[in-house]
């Protein structure tokens, strides 16, 4: 009786597994899974936009490519998403922007062990050599390019204040490179406070900087959301003519001001959310062409000035 039961269950489960295996065999198309964090702040919103836009364009261009996009609002959910992709969608490649490095390392490594192609974007995994392709922005470069711009704009030196992001490795790398770039130039950092990549926080921090320091020549806001808050605080104090602000990350409103030659916003530094698009395109190339695409692909941070601003302006993006 027991044995019969067991045999029945076994037969049933084999039957259920059959069609899945069969359909995967005769499918010619390659399936690329894309797993990214949900749009919880400006930059991530832009990243989601570019992911969707790239997928739409690639599905149009290549008939034999299929995409599965999932957005997760925490690392746990992202792990489940990836497991689901592997189990039910039979992906051939995974493009992942890890929410956090540590919790995602194991699950992504398992995808690799299954013999799938793995592309990791922006945040590296905790273990090396899992991914086939690594696409990322350049955080020290982001700080260095900004620092070099300050040195160029202020040959005589001067007084600046700095708004920092949320205390993280990303922020530390940027600030260290910035400080190294302005060393010996006569530019003095009067104060540094955390504006947490947030408009409201940076507005208040900038108000206090303005009360505290009568002479500020420039502000490194280090992020465009923080630049918005800082510019508003400066406008309130009526000191617009005294100082300029350098943000970063390429928010469309800021790029527009650079394009129009705004004195207060002379430039911007990129940290493009479109890097997810680069990663998806390169991964797709692996399945449709013969060009080798494995390795590391670091997207440099570029200085945006009125001359080249147009090519970094995406009016349709939410960021």
């Amino acid at each position: 009786m027991n044995l019969k039961h067991f045999a029945g269950a076994l037969a049933l489960s084999t039957m259920m597994m059959m069609p899945l295996g069969a359909s995967a065999q005769d499918a010619e198309t390659a399936v690329i899974g894309v797993s990214i964090p949900a749009a919880t702040h400006g930059w991530a919103g832009g990243m989601n936009f570019h992911a969707q836009a790239t997928i739409d364009a690639l599905e149009e261009r290549y008939e034999n490519l299929d995409f599965v996009l999932s957005t997760a609002s925490d690392p746990g959910q992202q792990v489940s998403d990836i497991e689901d992709m592997l189990a039910t969608r039979d992906i051939d490649a995974l493009v992942v922007l890890p929410f956090e490095s540590e919790p995602l390392t194991g699950p992504v490594a398992r995808v690799k062990e299954e013999g799938k192609w793995v592309t990791v974007v922006d945040r590296g995994l905790a273990q090396e050599n899992i991914e086939d392709l690594y696409v990322a922005g350049d955080n020290p470069g982001f700080g260095r390019v900004a620092g070099e711009f300050f040195v160029e704009r202020m040959p005589e030196g001067g007084n600046i204040v700095v708004l920092r992001g949320i205390p993280t490795t990303i922020d530390n790398e940027r600030v260290e490179a910035f400080e190294a770039a302005i060393e010996g130039s006569g530019i003095e950092i009067l104060g540094m406070e955390h504006g947490n990549w947030n408009r409201d926080d940076s507005f208040e921090v900038m108000q206090d900087f303005l009360s505290r320091y009568p002479e500020i020549d420039a502000v490194w806001a280090s992020d465009d959301d923080m630049a918005v808050g800082a510019l508003e605080a400066i406008a309130q104090s009526g000191r617009e003519a005294d100082m300029w602000v350098l943000g970063g990350a390429g928010m469309k409103e800021m790029i527009q001001r650079v394009m129009e030659g705004d004195e207060q916003v002379p430039a911007n530094v990129t940290y493009p959310p479109a890097m997810i698009g680069t990663a998806i395109e390169l991964t797709a190339l692996n399945f449709v062409g013969n060009a080798p695409v494995s390795g590391d692909f670091i997207i440099g941070s570029v200085l945006i000035t009125p001359e080249n601003a147009e090519q970094y302006y995406y009016p349709d993006s939410p960021f």
Partner: protein, 336 residues
């Protein structure tokens, strides 16, 4: 727990010379902070800085006045920060949508303000009805609506930032930045709401009913207090006040995103408790809440104006002062 808490305050009228820390604790803390600030930075008491600090306290302050009534009647509302973000988003969307049909004028700003009040009222009503009619714990209801409002604003903004139309913004901007006789509008609104709140709490049946429900719901019910109606009213009132706070907030930066109003609920609750209102309900005072709000924003301001500690430790300093302020009150009270 202790009998001391239950005995009325006026047991030792003979020792009128002693400072009653329960009443004066928050005020003393505020005065100490102001003196310390003035000594550390000459700009601290400048007109500009005082205006900055008071104006930025206004959002949390207006919300905290409403929170005082909710907490006094034994409730809690964790959703106010997300609610503020959601209201700000809806307000911006409505005003932007009306620009083509209404044109840019005072009318559009008034419609925006009205919509903030209506959405605030509706949001407060939802919280209040779920708590009083569906009989779900306030903590759970507002934890749920906190997530709902936060997701809705993220969804409305498509993960990015909602920005108010530039021309409307220029028209609306003075609501935050200008004022009457050199006093900024947010400060005036905050002051008026605080005064009305204090009067309602002290001198009306509604205020006394809140305290009665918070101290003993059963007794209040037997004393013919409409417990559910009063409870519902506190959440609706809070919702409307969140709407008013948002009306003052939107002209400041002209935008709303998923990072708007994060942790406002906890700042408001902290201000209420620092001010001497009991977290478990039964006793509340609005002027204490105002002092609590000022203490919290002064700490932030002072830390930015000086280099006393690493900015990494700002949160720790705030935490210590919050706990100290409450310990000071409670200990002295217990000794009596």
């Amino acid at each position: 727990m202790s009998d001391h808490a239950a005995t009325p305050a006026k047991t030792t009228s003979s020792s009128g010379f002693k400072i009653d820390f329960h009443i004066w604790g928050p005020v003393i803390a505020l005065v100490v902070l102001v003196i310390a600030g003035a000594m550390m930075n000459p700009n601290f008491l400048s007109y500009g800085n005082v205006t900055n600090v008071l104006a930025r306290s206004a959002f949390i302050g207006i919300i905290a006045v409403g929170m005082t009534f909710v907490i006094t009647s034994g409730g809690l509302d964790l959703s106010v920060g997300s609610m503020a973000a959601f209201i700000a988003g809806v307000m911006i969307l409505i005003m932007n949508a009306l620009v083509p049909s209404m044109g840019v004028g005072i009318g559009i700003v008034l419609v925006g303000m009205a919509s903030a009040l209506v959405v605030g009222l509706a949001a407060g009503l939802v919280n209040g009805l779920l708590i009083t009619q569906a009989r779900i714990e306030a903590f759970i209801v507002t934890l749920g609506t906190m997530g709902i409002f936060r997701s809705l604003i993220t969804w409305l903004a498509d993960g990015g930032t909602l920005s108010l139309d530039y021309t409307v913004r220029e028209l609306y901007r003075p609501v935050y930045y200008s004022g009457l006789f050199g006093v900024a509008w947010p400060i005036i609104v905050f002051a008026v709401i605080a005064i009305i709140g204090e009067i309602v709490m002290r001198h009306t049946a509604f205020g006394r009913h809140c305290a009665a429900i918070g101290s003993n719901e059963q007794v209040a019910r037997y004393s013919a207090v409409h417990v559910d109606r009063v409870r519902l009213m506190t959440y609706v009132l809070l919702g409307i006040l969140v709407g008013i706070a948002t009306i003052m907030y939107v002209p400041r930066l002209g935008s709303a995103s998923s990072s708007t109003g994060v942790l406002w609920e906890l700042e408001a609750i902290a201000a209420v408790i620092i001010g001497g209102t009991m977290l478990k309900g039964g006793f509340g005072r609005v002027w204490g809440t105002v002092v609590g709000v000022l203490i919290l924003s002064l700490i932030d301001n002072l830390l930015n104006l000086t280099d006393l500690v690493s900015p990494y430790l700002n949160g720790a300093i705030q935490g210590v002062i919050i706990i100290l302020a409450v310990v000071l009150q409670r200990q002295k009270k217990a000794q009596r």
